[in-house]
Amino acid sequence: MRTFKLLLGATLTLVSLMWSPGRAEQSGGDYPAAAKQDPGTDDAAMAQWKRRGQEPDWMAEELAKHKVLIPADNKGLVGKGQGSTYGSVTPEDVKVWQQETYKLAVEGSRIFHSGDRLKSTIAVSCDMCHPDGANTHPETYPKFQAQLGRVALLRDAINWCIENPVRGKKLAPDSPEMRALETYIYAQRTGTPLQYGKR
């Protein structure tokens, strides 16, 4: 009798474990746990998900606050490829190209408008002197800037600003933040002719 009770208990425990919600995750399925379906389940997990930059609404949130000009739509390229692989542009292609480009520009807008993200020690962000990216004139780079001792690219000017008016920590030239900032700044001047060397 005792053995039977033991076995029953073990079976029931096993069965209950198999049916518990955590089982799906532990099974190592292809998709992450359904965090987006039930906002109330696990706040810690939800917070971690958001912090990884996967906030589903981050783009909409940023665009509600700040206008970011959209990249070229390339629609004219669709369906006229003359049979070459490279020329076979689909509507999905142009959508992806535009969306990915735009995403980086909007990410740049987020950093541009945030003293925290720029790691400013004096709570200054780029938009204080450059609302909507005004007066950043990326079309005038590269140009010799005597105060930097050399011909400066846009990223050199950005880094100088981060070090001085923003009093933050310089970014590595190919860091994700620098790439995003450059994308945003170029985005806001789309359509302006290049004039390198202009003061």
Binding site: K67, D127, C129, P131
Partner: protein, 377 residues
């Protein structure tokens, strides 16, 4: 290694110098002149006046160009300091201190000093108190005006305890002065469930599109109408406002939504001057009998907006990023008979720029200010 704080050579010299000048203040005017350079006294005798803000001798008696007579009195201004607490951002504090130092060294002293709004950056009590403490050191009396950065954290609770009601008026030497709260905004925060700080940070972003456009609002319009009722049409009228009271560039709230209604209330007066803050740049505009003048900021400069710039504005050179004080400063306004004004922009590390009443009354044809060589992008 223990390091004692040394009283530097400079500090000691300055203490001696300040002691000398403090002593001088006790002298009567004649003794002071004697101590001053004899040349200055000779210059005064010849009727030539030196204004600290401008090292061009300003003729006291104007030539007969058809323009209004001499400046009858002056008031100074400091605006848009955007203070954080000093442990966080010392630069903005230092710049406000510099402006106060400038005004305190004006000789003769102005009749009063207008503070043009945005004393704090995020409307926090610490910031407003720091600003109040610094402004207390102005020798001349101060007239305060509220800006959006002062208001939207607590909807003016702290401002009122420190400075009183944001909307008021006063008379001075025959001129009627009105101070408006022109940065009211329609509620955009309740539906979004924003906290006070979230609301403040939204408003603090110049290019943040979520906030509403500035306005004076119907309540203040009614107040204004009643306030002005007692004054005849030829009373000189000067209006202080943080937002421009006209429509320059909507995305940056360089804009007052009910500008036309407010202007309508001012239209019957022979001469109205509006002095406004918020734009951190030289701005000049005219609508009929109303002359609009902007004020400089002490904290940071702004580029001119991509469109909507009033035709009368002669831009100032854009800011040199390598000089944190460039395109910033303070200034003064010389008020003449009939309410016309000469507006002086005291730009740090640049020659001062004066926008005279002659420039505005001539529609921009005479007394044109210097044009820039470094345009805004």
């Amino acid at each position: 290694m223990k390091r004692t704080i040394v009283k530097s050579v400079e500090t000691r010299y300055y203490e001696e110098r300040e002691a000398l000048f403090r002593g001088l203040k006790n002298l009567d005017r004649r003794s002071f002149l004697k101590l001053s350079a004899a040349a200055a006294a000779a210059a005064l005798a010849r009727g030539v006046e030196f204004n600290l803000h401008s090292f061009q001798p300003v003729q006291v008696a104007h030539a007969a160009t058809g323009e209004a007579g001499p400046v009858e009195f002056t008031f100074a201004y400091i605006s848009d300091s955007h203070l954080y607490k000093r442990q966080l951002n010392d630069r903005f504090v230092r710049q406000l201190l510099r402006a106060v130092d400038d005004i305190n060294h004006l000789a003769p002293q102005p009749d009063f000093v207008l503070y043009g709004g945005d004393l704090a950056q995020l409307g926090q009590p610490l910031e407003l108190e720091l600003g109040a403490q610094i402004l207390k050191n102005l020798k001349a009396p101060v007239k305060m005006m509220v800006g959006e950065h002062d208001w939207f954290l607590d909807m003016g609770e702290k401002w009122r305890t420190l400075f009183g009601e944001p909307t008021y008026s006063f008379d001075h030497k025959g001129v009627h002065f009105v101070v408006l709260h022109s940065v009211m905004e329609d509620d955009f925060w309740s539906e979004r469930g924003m906290t006070g700080m979230e609301r403040m940070q939204t408003v603090a972003g110049l290019d943040n599109g979520i906030q509403s456009r500035f306005k004076v609002g119907t309540e203040q319009q009614v107040w204004l109408k009643n306030n002005l009722a007692a004054y005849s049409d030829d009373t000189p009228l000067i209006v202080f406002s943080h937002s421009p009271l006209y429509k320059y560039y909507r995305p940056w709230n360089f804009w007052t939504d009910d500008a036309e209604e407010v202007q309508a209330l001012l239209q019957r007066f022979k001469q109205v001057v509006v002095v406004h803050g918020h734009t951190h740049q030289i701005l000049t505009h005219r609508i009929g009998n109303i002359h609009f003048h902007g004020m400089l900021s002490t904290a940071w400069p702004w580029p001119y907006a991509p469109e909507g710039l009033p035709a009368l504005t002669v831009q100032m050179n854009r800011a040199d990023p390598f000089n944190p004080n460039d395109a910033l400063g303070d200034g003064s306004v010389g008020v003449k008979a009939g309410g016309l004004v000469d507006k002086l922009y005291n730009l740090w590390n640049r020659n001062p720029i004066q926008v005279t009443s002659a420039y505005l009354t001539s529609g921009g044809k005479s007394a044109v200010p210097l044009t820039p060589n470094l345009q805004s992008y």
